[in-house]
Point group: C2
Chain length 689, copies 2
Amino acid sequence: MATDQVPPIADELPTPLPETAPARVEDDGVHADDSGYRQPEVDVDALRALLDGRYREVRDLVRDNLTQHAQILLDQEQMSTADFRERVRDVVVMMAETGQTGMGFPEEYGGGGDIGASIAAFETLALGDLSVLVKVGVQFGLFGGAILQLGTRHHHDAHLADLVTGRTMGCFAMTESGHGSNVQALGTVATYDAEAQEFVITTPDDASRKDYIGNAAAHAELAVVFAQLEVGGERHGVHAFVVPVREDGRVLDGVRIEDCGPKMGLNGVDNGRIWFDHVRVPRTALLNQFAEVTPEGRYLSPIDNPNKRFFTMLGTLVQGRVCVGGAGINAAKVALTIATRYAVRRRQFEATSPDEEQVLLDYGMHQRRLLPLLARTYALHFAQEVVAGQLHEVFSGPGPIEPGSDEHARRMLESRAAGTKALGTWHATRTIQECREACGGAGYLSENRFAALKADTDVFTTFEGDNHVLLQLVAKGLLTDYAGEFEDMDQLGMARFVAGLAVETVVERTAVHKLVQSVRDLLPGGDTWDQEAGLLDPNYQLAMLRFREEHMIGGVARRLKRGIDQGDNPGAVFSRVQDHVIAAARAHTERLVLEAFVQKTAALPDGDLKVALNLLCDLHALSTIEADRAWFMEHGRLSSARSKAISREINALCRRLRPIAVELVDAFGVPEEMLRSPELLGWPIGSDD
Amino acid sequence: MATDQVPPIADELPTPLPETAPARVEDDGVHADDSGYRQPEVDVDALRALLDGRYREVRDLVRDNLTQHAQILLDQEQMSTADFRERVRDVVVMMAETGQTGMGFPEEYGGGGDIGASIAAFETLALGDLSVLVKVGVQFGLFGGAILQLGTRHHHDAHLADLVTGRTMGCFAMTESGHGSNVQALGTVATYDAEAQEFVITTPDDASRKDYIGNAAAHAELAVVFAQLEVGGERHGVHAFVVPVREDGRVLDGVRIEDCGPKMGLNGVDNGRIWFDHVRVPRTALLNQFAEVTPEGRYLSPIDNPNKRFFTMLGTLVQGRVCVGGAGINAAKVALTIATRYAVRRRQFEATSPDEEQVLLDYGMHQRRLLPLLARTYALHFAQEVVAGQLHEVFSGPGPIEPGSDEHARRMLESRAAGTKALGTWHATRTIQECREACGGAGYLSENRFAALKADTDVFTTFEGDNHVLLQLVAKGLLTDYAGEFEDMDQLGMARFVAGLAVETVVERTAVHKLVQSVRDLLPGGDTWDQEAGLLDPNYQLAMLRFREEHMIGGVARRLKRGIDQGDNPGAVFSRVQDHVIAAARAHTERLVLEAFVQKTAALPDGDLKVALNLLCDLHALSTIEADRAWFMEHGRLSSARSKAISREINALCRRLRPIAVELVDAFGVPEEMLRSPELLGWPIGSDD
């Protein structure tokens, strides 16, 4: 366990629950029948089909590609950085040939015309080497996505066909050293020279150099550069431009590129820093989906408010966040597959018999370490399926996203993508760490996969938006009901807005009697719903998470309002409640995740698969409540006795999941070649083998 | 935050606490005086002197050595594994020349004759490259320590002088592939051949190969090999032998050594696997401090019981655990120094002013992320000082530890070392991760130090004993009152003993009325002590942790007793309560840590230093209670209102610590060269610089 918190314990002896325990009263009828609980058998293929969903074929294509290029896991360890970068590029291009990486682009440019398929492909790619994944993300997601979403026909015709095959490599030059997550404040300038009908791109100082730019240090020929647009002495905010940076391997005049050097992981990706010294590009280099500069130097945009324009542009790039979240979840699956298979083979100590050491996964503690993480991986998988599906819907219109088209739905999608990305990537970091530790010293050897998994995924929590910044975005959406005004504002203006007017509505909405009402809709019963419902009733579990979410949002709103009413600086007030803001956003996203899992499970036909998924769903729900049981007790929604009962129930669920744990990880469909781990899985270990 | 738990929040607006807040009623008088609270100023040198303690000179010697060899931080990144291993070896030998690494050996062999000094030196070494640290640990701690503690004059004369200088390199061949933490079950055999007066060392199968052995793959000429001793067909348990494995760089006949290959980190250490095929060593190769085989083949030992003999031998090696714990704590200091300095330079978002972005550490959330970890680092530092001091006392007798000499004290020391090692290394993993994330993308670059810190320290949680296994050791000590019988038993026998007879005493001792009594001794007052005491009263804080500890131990004891009384398999009962066992051990160690911090602080003369340390001590104590506030509520020792008040108090303490945060990390005395991080600390960053 990587935290210092003392794990929750059930301090009364539970009614002994044998492997095949009789049904308990609070069972919801799914797990049990009249003759008692029956341990489900898991059909691995059927479960895998359920997980793969509508994109099974796409995922299998990626699995095949991963298997074919499995050597890259060794190359990562053995090659020099320079060689490995070339190798990663080659693998990416070979994968592109199979159609795997271009699924999100229009068919007329050689793409697959299916955004959902492109997300599924990307997620699955995270089962393999993650430099390949990130290189694909940079080239096809960030660079290609910007051309597609921010550009128009001219740019599509010029670039899409070549970038889809990987013939043209590009980079996405947004982040600057001095500005990090605050993209609106970036310093690179693009000044329009009406006479020459050109933009002049300049890096005014070192804080404004582009930094950590993937594909920049070695391979990119083109860059999509984000810069402050200046026309006739007037600033119009951040816009994107296509800027050539390299030709035949040579960096072009006026462009300076520096290698970021070795990184913790992902060393197959060539990250670099870029400076521009009065680099001239034609007027048509502006990606002009949302704004245009006429030849004579008039600035035109269908979106008047510069903040709104900025956020609309950024919003089209939401796919990157969805992809990173999915990648984190899939990387966690690799770690869990290895650790679970190890835990049923490895024996340690003669715990119950003098003649035989006990298998790790038969230890209660080991079950507690791995199985709730397994359950949460399933939950996040299904939550990811929902957000990917929504993205597919929103972005599969007739053409690129038009300004104004169903803004509310888009904002909700952005918020959901942000929340899922934060939870998915934190989950990856935590799960990989726990699995590494659960494999002991062997987990430390590079050949056993955890070294690369840990090092490569570590940055997921901070890229495509720092998780804390993303959760603040989620909270702001909640506090403003995704109001349009929200996007028209800069950071401080937004704080003022949220803390002022918008909060009134939220305060009203989250009044206690309304909270109770909203719970009643879910869970018929008296005011003591939280005492009476069965712990395994999904409506109870959801009601708990919904109550927490609403209560927290209401609490933030009231604290903001009080601060403003006292005349404090709105920004200062917002900053003071920042921990609360982030907690509310997490609580919101946790509710969405559980909802996705509950709905998925409820829709299944009766049978062993449903029973197994119900066990996982219950374990996930109760683990989530248990992790924050202090809050529920503090807010009168959980008695001490019930809190302890939840911990006991979790232990019981772990014991029931123990016999099917291996099938549950095998259903993730991680190709054997991606597991490596000869030490952990490859030969008999433990003294009795 | 690397966990998925929603952070605790205080959902009522606190009375605004300005930077210089007036004294609050619950203040204990230390922080406040009649004229109101005054922000302390921190004299960095004085605080550093306090932290360095009696071994300031030793620590400064190590700091100088680190600075002199600072280039190794770059070498780690740039050299091939083979070259880097040689480089690390060279640095270790150069450091040895300064006396730094030999402080724990007798002066007659060139050592310093001061065990406390050797621990201080080792801890401080953790501020630099950790391959150097671990190589030092292997050579002087494990290998040298085994020769010193398990050997006698003959072995000392033969080896100590050469190993102290690093002229002879050695390894410590204990761990086997198939047995991990269960050393008693290892499979390597040493059979006595009375005719030849030799031992024959053999690896019977692959599960019994020695594995992960530091110094084995390239440098060791000698190995201390742990093997099952067999004399005249009779087994006598695990014993240690000095076995030559390499001469002039060539592996000797009968010995097979394989390189473990690349690892997540610590690649400057040459870990290997060793097989022995009937390797013959003279009778005198047995390290015979605790057992002897006569020439004619009689086995003699002053300790009759083989389990007791085994644990006595192992107990002499406790220094390794103390050192690893201290190393973890010091590695965390490096991460905190970088992240804190970065947090006062880096600006992000115009949070409170339209003209200026806000410094990271002025965000409430950022304070919450870093400052409790800073406080805990101080707490663990002082707890480590206590355990290192105790070790120095116990081991600074006239000669090597004699069997039977104050066994109770030694067992308590072993337990305390195990607990501190577990908490210290988990703290390192967590702190380094949090600090990395708090430095955003820049934290991901290798030159910014976190990559190596993370990768190198990751294994600390599983080496020198997996943390979970160590905490079980702690719990067993608590459950048996460190009774002598405890060490005479194997794993299963111990479970039987604990679960049976010993538990009665604990059950009796922890009866509720006695718990209340023990609290009363600490905290005069009625039965509602937990409601009435001030949150900042250290007696209250300690009483809470003591109550939890005793209650948990009692709970484990009662559950064990009930299981046994029902006739269940003692091992199975023990396994069933394993999470509870580990929680009790953590709770125990947490209490020891806080006690150390409180005592240290209380002993200081009045003044700003004391005020500052009191702020840290309060923050650590309340954060510890907050982290487990669910348990306290479940057990009736924390009301909802008071729980929320604790969260608010933590926020207030963070605000008070904010202005002195940099001084508090600077007092750790991490040499500037060890920080590297040019990106984070080296040049103006943020848009306003």
